[in-house]
């Protein structure tokens, strides 16, 4: 490996190695798609039950799908770590962990405190603000614009739904928010990853 190593070779090698370190991007689309579809289905089912049936427990889809999502996320995360042990820690991945932690704490606070204090009016818009922050920040860190646009869409929808008083409209807004913020960017992220490998 040491033969005829001159200045030009050195520069090429640096470029090549920096490129190789970048190449090692992980497929991060699974959780965006999984949670995107889960929230999308929960919101639309809740909306359907409210709009077209007299079913009392119209929030049931959330109560079933969200804990289920949490369990699946935990199982998949543990399995991923076992199958693909982390060989390299990039600054982006490390910082994204802090963003995910902040996102989970904020979601937990809103999901438990707002309904308990009876502030249903601001519940879904607040969720969309948290979605927006998470999508905008992670999109910026991953240098992936569709996630940032998804974040902006969620901010706009949150702003609009603060002025709306119907539960049904809030549910449709959150469905549109996850479609534009999670599902579409999630598929684009997967396509980008598939192209890179």
């Amino acid at each position: 490996m040491e033969k005829e190593f001159n200045e030009k070779n050195a520069l090429q090698l640096i470029e090549q190695m920096i490129g190789k370190a970048k190449e090692d991007i992980q497929d991060k689309s699974f959780f965006f798609l999984f949670w995107g579809y889960l929230v999308f289905v929960a919101a639309l089912t809740n909306w359907f039950l409210l709009e077209f049936t007299d079913f009392t427990y119209h929030s049931l889809p959330w109560l079933v799908l969200m804990p289920l999502g949490g369990i699946v996320t935990m199982i998949v995360s543990v399995r991923e770590k076992k199958i693909q042990p982390v060989k390299v820690k990039s600054y982006v991945n490390e910082n994204l962990k802090f963003v995910i932690q902040a996102f989970c704490i904020a979601m937990f606070t809103v999901c438990f405190c707002m309904p308990a204090s009876g502030q249903w009016q601001a519940f879904y818009p607040s969720i969309m603000i948290i979605y927006g922050i998470w999508l905008y920040v992670s999109g910026g860190m991953l240098q992936f614009k569709p996630l940032m646009y998804g974040g902006i869409l969620n901010f706009l929808l949150a702003g609009a739904t603060y002025f709306s008083s119907t539960h049904q409209l809030h549910l449709l807004s959150i469905a549109v928010g996850v479609l534009g913020g999670y599902i579409i960017p999630g598929h684009l992220l997967k396509a980008k990853y598939n192209k890179s490998v």
Partner: protein, 100 residues
């Protein structure tokens, strides 16, 4: 008169290691071995040379009963790499190209 290139970094494998570590927080031995296509023995020797120069830190632990060596670049290593790049620029700048 050109400044001399840092001999610790001006070696193909050591430069490859530092170039990989400059962009990441930390990387394990397997990652470096895969990316540099070096043999485990040679990689180990060069990692120790970089460690002795204070350019990288090595952390030896165990994971699932297998030894795990984690490498990260130090501030001294970052400074040395930046200086190496500056010196390299002198050598390859168009003004210094041989004229026909």
């Amino acid at each position: 008169m050109f400044k001399e290139l840092n001999p610790i970094l001006h070696s193909q494998l050591r430069l490859a290691i530092i170039s990989l570590l400059i962009g990441v927080k930390e990387a394990d031995f397997t990652f470096l071995k895969e990316k540099t296509s070096a043999t485990a023995g040679n990689l180990s020797v060069q990692l120790n040379k970089l460690k002795e120069a204070g350019y990288i830190e090595l952390e030896k632990t165990f994971k699932n009963n297998y030894p795990l060596t984690t490498c990260r670049i130090t501030p001294t290593g970052i400074k040395a790499f930046e200086e190496y790049i500056q010196t390299l620029k002198q050598y390859i700048s168009p003004e210094n190209e041989p004229k026909n």
